[in-house]
Amino acid sequence: MRLSDRDRVLILAFGNVARGDDSLGIRFGECISNENVENVDVEMDYQLKIEMSADLLNYDKVVFVDASVSCREPFEFYKIEPDTSLGFTTHSMKPETLLTVCKSCFGKTPTETWILAIRGYNFDLADEISERALKNLSDALEFFRNNLVLKRRYEDGTEEKNYIDY
């Protein structure tokens, strides 16, 4: 993912914090939200919903962040395109389907969209996250900070720029 100074980036993180490792996306979103990353907005929700297609219009690059029951450890990061195949329910949507809705209804999509899938293991009712999932979250955050953060402004006014080409 190539970022430039002008790019507006959305991190769309989702999951349920009462469902053990299903909270991985939200925990990731909260961490990034607490860092002062310029050009990056963070939205969090329980799951992807069809109206979020309208939110995507405001951004050049979008990263969907979710827990995964089956991705490679510790996480996978891959580009996606609009896809008309559906999950079994359309109360919640696949990111690829959301892009299709965005394109069909509004005539455009962000220029690039990616999925950051973080491997989880326990999705039962629980406040806690499993140790293995926590390690995966840590690796995903490190990857994001090292590779995808474009510009970070510190409280003392200094800036750190990180032009990346992933």
Binding site: N16, A54, D66, S70, S104, F106, F123
Partner: protein
């Protein structure tokens, strides 16, 4: 497979509903339906999850029960904790803010269900190709309507965000009131679009009516069966989605109970457990398990109320009720029509509230004498939702009993499966039972807009899986989509 052997049809999972459920239909050796069941195969366990938490955490924690209607749980828990903190009457600002949040939730929930979950069936036909019968098919067929549906949802979400404070884990409602009012800036943003939102809601209702009226006889008979109806209504009989007293009517409109207060619900409602489903079966005590089950949700609310206090929705209610000369309607597909009347009502209510200066009031909280027990209800988009909490001296929850809307509709959903299996599958050979025919069963279930979710949705879930068994349990055929 021999035409004279018993066969079991399994639909697993049921699609375009929220959460995991499967349907089993057992046909005997003559092809007659022996039994038809909707099984809920996900265990919630949420009532135990909240035990030990402080009562003031309940309105926030219970939102995690469901990613689809967190606002309903948030508000119902807040209402129950109002009782615990002794807040007998909220300040006008607090009650109106909560109502605004609730109408926003109802608007976006009903819009989603109509446009994206049920309209593929209504617009393309129950046995249209499965690749067309979904939200993408609707968008391809009518992108402008689909866009309006997305923007209706977005508007509802904005109402929720401005009233709940944020998009997820909102804290707008707290025991005894609210923690923020609606700023004039927020009011102006919402007011700017409410007229067009109301117009789109009316268009949705007209579209629904057009489809239903085009085959009125078919829709009134499809999945129809007599039932009791239960909902809350305002003390004067008006439709009220946020607060009121419980009313139940028989299938022909006789009052079973009326003006029941929340704290007395256990005197009127009991729950039965059956071994083949994780979801309980509520019933009206005075009528017993066999005759006491009931419907809830938009259709029951329209059937039960005496009038609606917004002009367009009231006119539409009168038109719907004229189909049965004022008697309750017992057709499952009438849920869609009733749901769209509530969509319009919600938009009318939002418009009314946005012009009320009390939303900018600053008295947000009330308190009174502390109680150990708090019971409340609310009309969630899918039907009556009950929350009951008891606390100890340390303010920790020691008992939680939640009867969620879809649980109230458990027996009716089983009934609609049975009725439709008899009407559409009985006597059919294996080859004749097509995917389109099985979708008829799902159409009946979807009319109730069930939500069986615990909001878990990690990447990698299962697609639809249909299996056909013989009477010995041997798998004869299967299909995955």
């Amino acid at each position: 497979m021999s035409a004279k052997s018993e066969k079991k049809i399994v639909i697993n999972p049921v699609t375009r509903i929220e959460g995991h459920a499967k349907v089993t239909i057992l046909l005997d050796d003559k092809g007659k339906v022996k039994h038809a069941r909707l099984h809920v195969i996900e265990f919630r366990g949420f009532e135990r999850f909240v035990q030990g938490r402080f009562y003031w955490e309940a309105p926030t924690i219970v939102q995690r029960l469901c990613g689809i209607c967190p606002v309903s749980h948030h508000l119902c828990a807040a209402k129950a904790t109002d009782v615990i903190v002794g807040a007998k009457k909220l300040t006008p600002t607090a009650e109106k803010m909560r109502r605004l949040m609730h109408y926003g939730q109802t608007l976006q929930s009903h819009a989603l269900h109509f446009f994206h979950l049920c309209s593929p069936d209504l617009l393309f036909g129950f046995d249209a190709p499965v690749e067309q019968r979904n939200v993408i098919g609707v968008i391809k067929a009518d992108p402008e309507t689909a866009k309006k549906a997305v923007l209706l949802r977005k508007y509802g979400q904005e109402v929720i965000r401005f009233t709940a404070g944020k998009r997820i884990h909102g804290t707008g409602a707290i025991p005894g009131g609210i923690n923020k009012n609606l700023s004039t800036e927020e009011r102006d943003i919402l007011a700017k679009d409410i007229d067009i939102i109301l117009q789109w809601c009316i268009e949705a209702l007209e579209l629904c009516k057009k489809v239903v009226k085009s085959k009125l006889d078919f829709f009134l008979k499809f999945g129809a069966f007599d039932s009791n109806h239960l909902s809350i209504v305002r003390e004067d009989g008006c439709l009220d989605l946020y607060d009121g007293l419980l009313r139940a009517k028989t299938a022909d409109g006789k009052i079973i109970c009326d003006k029941v207060k929340p704290e007395d619900y256990l005197d009127y409602i009991a729950e039965e457990v059956r071994p083949w489903s994780y979801m309980k079966f509520p019933f009206i005590r005075s009528l017993g398990k066999e005759k006491g089950w009931y419907r809830v949700g938009p259709l029951s609310r329209i059937n039960n109320c005496d009038f609606i206090d917004t002009p367009i929705a009231e006119k539409e209610r009168q038109e719907l009720m004229s189909l049965t000369k004022g008697k309750p309607i017992n057709a499952s597909m009438a849920y869609h029509w009733a749901r769209m009347i509530e969509l319009v009502h919600s938009a009318e209510k939002i418009k009314e509230l946005l012009s009320d200066p009390e939303l900018q009031g600053t008295e947000l909280i009330t308190q009174g004498k502390r109680q150990k027990r708090g019971v409340a209800w609310i009309e969630a988009p899918r039907g009556t939702l009950f929350h009951h909490y008891e606390i100890n001296d340390n303010d920790q929850i020691v008992l939680a009993n939640l009867i969620v809307s879809t649980t109230n509709n458990n027996e009716p959903m089983n009934k609609v499966v049975e009725v439709l299996a008899r009407d559409y599958l009985e006597g059919k050979s294996e080859k004749e039972i097509t995917e389109g025919l099985l979708n008829h069963i799902e159409v009946g279930i979807r009319a109730y807009d069930p939500c069986l979710s615990c909001a878990t949705h990690a990447l990698g879930q299962m697609p639809l899986h249909v299996q056909l068994y013989d009477h010995n349990g041997a798998l004869l055929d299967e299909a995955i989509r």
